[in-house]
Symmetry: C2
Subunit: 128 residues, 2 copies
């Protein structure tokens, strides 16, 4: 049967699983989004990250607006088959819609979330 | 107000958010689990990873049975405040219940998920 690797994934009740994008070189975690069956199939076929946008309720080819596509080097699955890990090359070096490299730009410092990462590019310049 | 860093998290409708554990040295992603408010508070206080077990419906101090606790060096939050990232030191070098370093021990190879990581210790020896 074709595509039975898609059947091996334990899709949630909403048909989705979380997908982590990790920079293949630095190991930095850049973002977490969601995938459905179609998104994973297209990601595997095109070798560029395609997610499911829960807010827009449609497939989202990451970088379609910003140009910041994610070239996929490797796709991993966890032991419970309900989380996907993409090892990627982040074109433009910016994964976050805030214009930062990573969405994880805050760390807990005592009782506060402290911003640790600079904005590399003004989002108004990215999404024109 | 105490603990308002907990109020900054966009807890899901079930009161949970995903939490990624990443090896602070190697950058490897070891596992993904879930946290509720209590789990994050205890993790921040004790500096050892505490998750919410969805199957057992209770707090889960990672390593409570196996001894494979996770010493937390840093706690990060993403831009949407709905994913937590723990940078940890994995005691025993095994995060996965299968006895492997990482839960992400399979990668997509053509149409198959191929196991890439060895079992470091028989689970029967870990969970006695």
């Amino acid at each position: 049967m074709d595509n039975d690797y898609l059947d091996s994934v334990a899709w949630g009740p909403d048909g989705l699983v979380p997908a982590i994008a990790q920079d293949a070189e630095s190991g930095r975690i850049l973002m977490v989004a969601w995938m459905n069956r179609d998104a994973l199939a297209r990601t595997a076929e095109t070798r560029e990250a395609v997610y499911w946008s829960r807010s827009r309720r449609k497939l989202w080819h990451k970088g379609e607006e910003s140009g910041h596509v994610q070239r996929v080097r490797n796709i991993r699955l966890d032991c419970d088959a309900d989380v996907i890990l993409l090892e990627i090359e982040q074109v433009g070096g910016i994964a976050c819609h805030t214009g930062r490299e990573s969405c994880f730009y805050r760390e807990l410092d005592g009782e506060d979330w402290r911003v640790t990462d600079p904005v590399l590019r003004d989002p108004a310049q990215i999404y024109r």
